[in-house]
């Protein structure tokens, strides 16, 4: 037999194991030579392995899209929907009061949440029964109306426990109790509004879209970074953990980088803590400034070390700070 014929012969035998005549012929052929047995063993190995193969390669991109979509749906959003549906049927929805955000387990009727609100999206209940799918349809229509309706409108979150929300772009926000955050769940622009309380932001980098946090009197603009925001009474404070943010008010703009912080004063000016010194030794001031700016701020002369100065180094670059310090000391 030629090589090709041999292969076809083997395949014929492999694909027809019940045929005794073929198996007998195979057996005879195998006995004839070691080479035959080797060839057969190899083809059989490939033949069997091919049977275990999925028909198509795993599409990781698609899998990730589906997964991140599902986990990004904030439960607050779900809660909001439930509240609307409940009030539309004029029932006192149990447990729905303000603040209405609770850990998932406390929600009564979690199953209802799954089938009513996400009959298609919730894959943790793989629905195999057609009757269940049919029953979901009218509920799905109601739910989809509210989902559609509410994606056009912002959602307000008032947390009474520490709550982390996950946004569709991959960013997350950890809210302290009594924090009020407003945002549009479908997140067409990356923009949220914090009117009260404290939150820690972890923002996904997206060069094409800046992430904006609107505070009562200032705006934080970010590319991708992590930072903390605190609004209490009339004070607003931003502390940057990583990356870079731009903080703006009507009058001032400040770029804050890792480790830096600023607050908005009563007068609406941006103040950076730790840059204001009253009657401090110049040496101490220089050390503090160096640490703050991560740059060596030096004294023009070591004799100035113990000289006491009072100064405020707000809104300056490291270079400017050095110049001002020199000027003060040389007076």
């Amino acid at each position: 037999m030629s090589v090709d014929d041999t292969r076809e012969f083997i395949i014929d035998c492999l694909s027809d194991p019940a045929n005794t005549a073929k198996q007998a012929a195979l057996g005879q052929w195998l006995q004839q030579a070691v080479a035959n047995r080797t060839l057969y063993a190899e083809l059989k190995q490939v033949w069997d392995a091919a049977a275990n193969m999925p028909p198509a390669p795993f599409n990781m991109e698609e899998g990730w899209q589906a997964l991140s979509r599902q986990i990004s749906e904030p439960s607050a959003h779900v809660v909001e929907l439930k509240r609307e549906i409940a009030s539309s049927t004029r029932e006192e929805a149990p447990g729905v009061t303000a603040p209405f955000l609770m850990p998932d387990e406390e929600w009564l009727n979690p199953k209802e949440k799954e089938t009513v609100l996400h009959p298609h999206k919730n894959r943790t209940a793989r629905v195999r029964y057609k009757w269940m799918a049919a029953a979901c349809l009218p509920l799905f229509l109601i739910a989809s109306y509210f989902i559609w309706h509410s994606t056009l409108q912002p959602v307000t979150i008032q947390a009474n426990v520490i709550k982390t929300i996950h946004l569709p772009d991959g960013s997350s926000i950890r809210l302290q109790p009594s924090t009020i955050l407003v945002y549009n769940p479908s997140f067409p622009q990356r923009s949220v509004s914090l009117t009260q309380g404290e939150a820690y932001f972890s923002v996904s980098p997206d060069e094409k879209r800046t992430f904006i946090v609107q505070l009562p009197r200032s705006t934080v603009t970010v590319l991708g970074t992590s930072f903390n925001v605190n609004v209490s009474g009339t004070t607003e404070r931003v502390v940057v953990e990583d990356g870079k943010v731009r903080l703006t008010t009507h009058t001032d703009t400040l770029i804050l980088t890792k480790g830096l912080a600023a607050r908005v004063s009563d007068a609406g000016k941006l103040l950076q803590p730790g840059l204001s010194f009253t009657n401090e030794e110049a040496g101490t001031v220089a050390t503090a400034l160096s640490a703050y700016y991560q740059v060596n701020i030096t004294l023009p002369d070591s004799t100035f070390r113990k000289k006491k100065i009072t100064a405020n180094f707000q809104n300056m670059s490291a270079g400017e700070v050095q110049q001002v310090l020199n000027a003060i000391l040389e007076q």
Binding site: E42, V46, A49, M53, Q70
Partner: protein, 185 residues
């Protein structure tokens, strides 16, 4: 994209899941999802079911992250998790649970064999994608869908000889690349 080939330590994974760290979570997905899919497919032999099992496992990791502690090898932990889910699903569907899967579950050493198995599967899937369309179609009909050559011939309206020829071409291609040596005699 080689970064995603690196293994993650149990400590990093546990902490990342507890904190709902999206970066760690995504890293886990990108590193392990394909292998988990192939392993799940091995057990359930159903492409979309296998995808669902993997998807649900990751949803579970995300949502119940605060309650999980992963010790030892993250890969092994995930493989065991997806296998358990596969077994549960097979039971739920009242399908036959083969000896293979139970054996795998019981034997800790099986995890090492699995690494070889997965490598082979991945290579094969890639190689099959490289076959000519008709050749690939016939191979899948035969091996994945279990049709006999005669059935394939009838279905595609071609001769039996053509079927054998195409299968032969496919096997030759696979054997050549999988078994490493250029044995074209």
């Amino acid at each position: 994209m080689t970064w995603y080939g690196t293994e993650i330590s149990a400590a990093t994974a546990t902490e990342g899941l507890r904190d709902r760290n999206m970066e760690v979570f995504k890293h886990l997905y990108l590193t392990y999802s394909e292998d988990l899919f192939l392993l799940a497919y091995r057990w359930v032999k159903d492409e979309s079911l296998a995808k669902d099992l993997v998807h649900n496992l990751f949803v579970h990791l995300w949502e119940k992250g605060s309650t999980l502690t992963i010790t030892g090898n993250v890969r092994h932990y995930l493989f065991r998790a997806v296998t358990n889910r596969a077994i549960n699903e097979l039971k739920r569907q009242s399908r036959h649970i083969s000896e293979d899967i139970l054996q795998w579950q019981a034997d800790p050493a099986s995890l090492y064999e699995t690494a070889d198995y997965l490598l082979l599967q991945k290579e094969m899937v890639q190689l099959v994608q490289g076959l000519a369309p008709r050749c690939k179609e016939i191979l899948l009909l035969s091996r994945v869908h279990g049709l006999e050559p005669l059935e394939i011939a009838e279905k595609l309206n071609i001769t039996l000889n053509t079927v054998y020829y195409q299968l032969s071409v496919a096997l030759k291609h696979l054997r050549l690349h999988l078994l490493g040596e250029k044995k074209d005699r």
